[in-house]
Assembly symmetry: C2
Homo-oligomer: 196 residues x 2
């Protein structure tokens, strides 16, 4: 039961554009897709359900916003109780991080299956990673504003998302590099195989 904490942590950021510390379910889902997906994956339905639960427990507070040209929405912010919950969570020992990756399963079996489709998927993965690398680069620049990184990390106001984004960036760089390298290795072996 830790989706709740991921939601609370994401909600702290609000959307920056204005009221600060507020997200609708829809906006939250988008934020998850971009920044939070590096360390927590969740579907929109889960988020809507979790927000409802958190509201009942008083950990977030929602307010209705009536819109004319758009459907109405509810904006949520973390309450005092929510903060306390996060605080408590931050002090408990962390579970080991946990990964699931189809593509790695396939590479594990690379000696026994046709590597053609694998090479394709690895290169596809690398190009997705490259797109994320660029995105994260932009996000980081935006967050740190005019300060350089060292300065920002020393005196910036909200460094949490910056630090997790750095992690995401490193992960995707690793993803790209590894994917291209493995694809190259498998190609080379296909060539050697074909020679004989």
């Amino acid at each position: 039961m830790a989706l709740r904490h991921a939601v609370l942590a994401a909600l702290l950021e609000g959307d920056g554009s204005g009221s600060g510390g507020e997200y609708s379910g829809y906006q939250l889902a988008k934020a998850f897709d971009i920044g939070v997906a590096n360390f927590w994956h969740a579907l929109p339905q889960q988020l809507y359900a979790e927000l409802t639960k958190l509201e009942k427990e008083g950990l977030v507070a929602g307010r209705q916003v009536v819109q004319e040209t758009r459907p109405n929405k509810r904006l949520f912010r973390v309450t005092e109780a929510g903060l306390a919950e996060l605080e408590a969570f931050a002090a408990t020992p962390s579970k080991p991080s946990f990964i699931r990756d189809d593509l790695l399963v396939k590479v594990q079996a690379a000696d026994c299956v046709d590597t053609g489709p694998l090479i394709e998927q690895l290169e596809e993965r690398a190009s997705v990673a490259e797109a994320k690398i660029e995105l994260f680069g932009k996000l980081l620049r935006k967050m740190r504003g005019e300060l350089d990184e060292a300065e920002f990390l020393r005196r910036g106001e909200r460094i949490g998302p910056y630090l997790t984004c750095l992690r995401g960036l490193a992960l995707e760089q690793e993803n790209k590099e590894w994917g291209l390298r493995v694809a190259a290795v498998l190609r080379e072996r296909r060539a050697v195989h074909a020679e004989r």
Copy 2:
């Protein structure tokens, strides 16, 4: 429903020590802990259940081994049908990889919670990562035997597990580096905060 494929892929390796391509449930659980955990996480109960299911479907074959000094066990190997299943799986598009990490959730909220316990956890995480780095280094050396890496990747027989292990190594190096860096950043900020 992809645990089955992770099990099949892991089973392909057997345990090296002897009969090749055979694991008991118990051994499989250990293999998951070491090599496979980098890209797939599963509890022993799941593995026992999955092996039973796979056997019913004919994707693996089990044989009973009676032992006197130890409890009896069943050793499983991948069948032709199992290989075909893996082959088919390898050719389908991969789901995006999926991560869950408590510690990153906490770092995301670092601006709003006490960073003391966070720093501890980050350093703990880094030292766990270091242990894994050493372990993977040994595993890689063992797998490649007397060949150097480039040579092994060109002509080695079973490179699948080697390639996934390389990924695990890179991941843990990244983990360690990031953990130490973030811990240092948070420490520095505590110091600055204390000054005022």
